[in-house]
Amino acid sequence: MDQTDGGVSFSAVHVVEYAYRRSVGSVLGRFFTELRDRKLIGTRTRAGRVLVPPCEYDPETGEAVDEFVNVGPAGVVTTWAWVHKPSAKHPLPRPFAWALVRLDGADTAMLHAVDAGSESRMRTGMRVQPRWREKTVGAIQDIECFEPEAAR
């Protein structure tokens, strides 16, 4: 309790928290199942565009999409933003980049973290590869992050 200006005030930390379980459906379900096996897949539309992460419907036509294709695992950074001070919720405890990564064979880009060490190593067009976790569970976090392809 603080006494300021003759008045009284109280401060407390309030935490609102719940675990939200979301059913993922057959298409994203397949994507997560493949991630568990350290594989990346997309869906191919009738026009031949490969969507990663996969969509159940072609965003251009609304048509159901059911052809799965393997993509990646490496890809190209199409745009990025450097995070100087990661928060507790961020995937990496050190400065990193949020990036859109277009995996090899894909026509769309996927958001993920890139562990480049420093901002000066980040380039639009740079090649990156996934760094997989030792234990995979079937979630996007099975990829710990992407890293510059030359790192290995």
């Binding site: 009284v8 109280f10 675990a19 939200y20 379980r21 059913s23």
Partner: protein, 164 residues
């Protein structure tokens, strides 16, 4: 794909931690409740008493001026029976979450009803606050553990129908 069960769902933890600061009327309410008193505030225009105390009358849009202490005793106006457990609630299932019109207040107050069967709770039932042990009191509504039947005769619906 592996032979393992396909992934059907993912869990997304949602968490928001924020620091809340209560000042003015709200802080006075918390200060009073930490001493076992329930504070309301009366609107100078419509004379309605809001509990917990609020600084502005939502109906008249004017600042409330007069603090009014109300007792931990009132009437259940409406309620629901809760059958789903919640980790921050100590009552046994099923329990009752109720709107309770404290005597002298014009707006119902949220409270849990315990020490009776959920099936016994009814609109118009008289209840009284069961306070947590005094040494645990702090600036929080958790000082009131729950409400229990007071044994007084029920209040007729006509007497509280304006306060649902």
């Amino acid at each position: 794909m592996s032979d393992a069960e396909p992934v059907k769902s993912i869990v997304t933890p949602t968490r928001l931690a924020y620091e809340y600061t209560a000042t003015g009327t709200q802080a006075r309410f918390l200060d009073e409740i930490s001493r076992g008193r329930i504070l309301g505030q009366r609107c100078p225009a419509c004379h309605k008493v809001y509990v917990p105390a609020r600084a502005v009358c939502p109906r008249c849009g004017v600042a409330t001026t007069e603090p009014v202490e109300v007792p931990g005793r009132g009437t259940v106006t409406t309620f629901c029976v809760v059958r789903v457990p919640s980790e921050n609630i100590h009552l046994k299932l099923p329990f009752v979450a109720a709107h309770i019109l404290l005597d002298g207040a014009d707006i119902p107050f949220f409270g849990l009803v315990g020490d009776c069967e959920a099936s016994e709770v009814r609109m118009g039932m008289r209840v009284e606050a069961v306070w947590a042990p005094r040494e645990t009191w702090g600036p929080t509504l958790a000082n009131i553990r729950h409400f229990r039947p007071s044994g007084e005769p029920d209040v007729a619906f006509e007497k509280f129908k304006e306060h649902l």
